[in-house]
Amino acid sequence: MSALSKRLSSLDWTIHPPYLHPPYESTLHRAPHRPLVPLPQTLSELTGPVYGHDDIGPLDNDLTRNAIVNGAPIGERIIVTGRVLDERGKPVPNALIEIWQANAAGRYRHLVDQHDAPIDPNFTGAGRVLTDANGEYRFTTIRPGAYPWRNHPNAWRPSHIHLSIFGRAFISRLVTQMYFPGDPLLPLDPILNGIPDEKGRQRLIASYDHDVTEPEWALGYRFDIVLNGSRMTPFENPDADDDE
């Protein structure tokens, strides 16, 4: 085991949004003001919850079927697929991805959401999927609608899917949102535009992929995810095939 003293931030702060982003009003009273204290990466940061196939149900990755009451959910069926990678491009297997989203009308199945749009009785908008040995995941859902919020006059969130990803270590934890190409609301969204880096913003926009599209069934989108990792390898990792 090597010394744990030398380190840099595992989060690339040129890519991730700063805490304070005034156009997004909720940051004003919630953004920490004091500088973050650099933390050495110890066992506490370099381990994390381990997930496996026992944690996933057979319909968890199909949001068009996992909540059926009396028919299929309304809306445009889509397939979302991609890979979860580390910063060296190595696939992250057994990464748990949690999914939640609004329905096709832009309404969440949540008590706090009072948007005057219909609830779909056959759609909760929640799912889970695990990456395979190649870091690949795939889920089927309904394209979510845009919805209004009260951040500023006539504010609308672009269509998006919330994604929560567990990598190998607690340090690699990521919660983000996936957007859709060509959405005219993207340049107007203070949440997406909290990301300081234009290339970073582009990476949250899925790409339409005709090879993923299934004939007479569903349009396909590709969305790859890169998780931050440790800045060193202090522990022997039997799977490691590369050196830093």
């Binding site: 004091r34 381990v50 910063e87 790859d224």
Partner: protein, 197 residues
């Protein structure tokens, strides 16, 4: 800062938003970490999440990750993984409610190795997600009845002594059971220490 030899830039973070519960907090809750078989002292951690105006944050999600009673993480990269308590995963979640309150039932973790020589005082790792946090915040819960271990803890010693108290949960007895009180202040006076791991 970032290193230059990486080919794959990180995917940016976005806020968890206000509507995460149905996707991330299973029915029945995930704030009870220990089962009947788990080894260790049962503890309750409770507190509130407050914003910079002192207003309760009713829509935060806390994620906790901790070692077992012997300080082992249930993860293959812990060199003592084979000895880890099989009845303790070490991960849990608690969402805050209207008055910003949360509660976590778990066991008190043991001390965790730091660098092969020094030990870390018992602690619980905490991520905070909420509307208004575009990137999550990261902190630790230490325990007020571990004064000696806390004084020697290599991480606490990186923190301004005047701010260390924000990381230490205060032990109280409640009906004979240990309760630790830990408030999280996102901003302003007595702002909780947040880390950059």
């Amino acid at each position: 800062m970032t290193m230059s030899n990486e080919q794959y830039p990180q995917t940016p973070s976005q806020t968890v938003g206000p509507f995460f519960h149905f996707g991330m907090v299973p029915e029945g809750g995930a704030n009870v970490l220990a089962s009947d078989e788990t080894h260790g002292e049962r503890i309750l951690i409770r507190g509130r999440v407050l914003d910079g105006e002192g207003v309760a944050v009713p829509d935060a999600l806390l994620e906790i990750w901790q070692a077992d009673a012997n300080g082992c993480y249930n993860h293959p990269d812990d060199p003592r993984h084979a000895q880890a308590d099989p009845h303790f995963r070490g991960f849990g979640r608690a969402d805050t409610v209207d008055d910003g309150k949360f509660a976590i039932q778990t066991i008190k973790p043991g001390p965790v190795p730091f660098d092969g020589e020094r030990m870390q005082a018992p602690h619980i790792n905490v991520r905070i997600f909420s509307r208004g946090l575009l990137t999550h915040a990261y902190t630790r819960i230490y325990f007020s009845d571990e004064e000696e271990a806390n004084a020697a803890d290599p991480v606490l010693n990186l923190v301004d002594p005047e701010r260390r108290h924000t990381l230490i949960a205060r032990r109280q007895e409640q009906g004979g059971a240990p309760v630790y009180v830990f408030d999280i202040k996102l901003q302003g006076r007595d702002e909780t220490v947040f880390f950059d791991p």
